[in-house]
Subunit: 190 residues, 2 copies
Amino acid sequence: MEKNKIGAKPLLYPMPTTLVGANVSGKPNYLVIAYCNIVNYNPPLISVSLLKNHYTLLGIKENRTFSVNIPSAEMVKTVDYCGLVSGHKVDKSKLFNTFYGALKTAPMIEECPLNLECKLVRTLEFPENEAFIGEIVEAYAEQRYLTNALPDIKKLDPIIFSSHDYNYWKVGENLARAFHVGKELISENE
Amino acid sequence: MEKNKIGAKPLLYPMPTTLVGANVSGKPNYLVIAYCNIVNYNPPLISVSLLKNHYTLLGIKENRTFSVNIPSAEMVKTVDYCGLVSGHKVDKSKLFNTFYGALKTAPMIEECPLNLECKLVRTLEFPENEAFIGEIVEAYAEQRYLTNALPDIKKLDPIIFSSHDYNYWKVGENLARAFHVGKELISENE
């Protein structure tokens, strides 16, 4: 085995492909973001990290609310478009049908199979990015995307992002049950 | 379209499956973590969020270094085992071959196709979790996992985690090129 040093790069596989939504001056804007993940289980806290010049950032600061929307593979062209053009120049409010929840100011995308409505609880300053920690106050999904009242990853058909080579991928086959498949090793190692 | 309120839960699809490594009292320990993502591009900063009682957390605080290792699908049984047993009770140092890089105290897993060596730069306190922000000081991979000197997601064959229903999945087919497939919409919307 020979490991190559491939350089200090922000590599991680897989990354999610999300559309972060915020109202900027009263109009919805949506931005494609892969730097997103959960940071606390209960209460459910999610972190989205945006470059400081992103238009959407203005809306998050203005309303202290935002949304994380999980698009499906069939939306890939429009999703990619949201990453190619800035809300500074283009009105992205007409790309999707927008709905609102209890927070009133976090625009969510009807066409996305899963929507997380978030209340800003903390802002973190990094050299190039600003991370927004949101408490998920509600999640929304149509019945057809659920199995046993929970989102079903195969029904959602979310988009995986691979960084640096810049590609989108689909979720493939089921590999194993988590917190289960490793049980047979417990007796061997104890 | 009727959206159901499915409750305020920490949902996100896909999530990565990583093995976070740290030396605890001089011995490597590895923990499976899905709450992990990049928070800054340059310098490359990565966040891992651990429950406060996790054994690995002691090592991160002790040395101010840790690693994020991306396991491949064929390692799923051992990966899952790392999530089932705690370093408080079981010595997980013998499960893998460990190597070290420039930081000397961040144990990395030879068998994982990609290793990120991290220096702790910031700690964030959340109600149940503690998030560690690490600067990636080097990344390691064997030649066979690279295409054009970058990790190739299909060669890595990383494990996707789906939360709440607790399943592991493989990466499937290529969907589209990012920052490219949406270009044809630019003229239509301008």
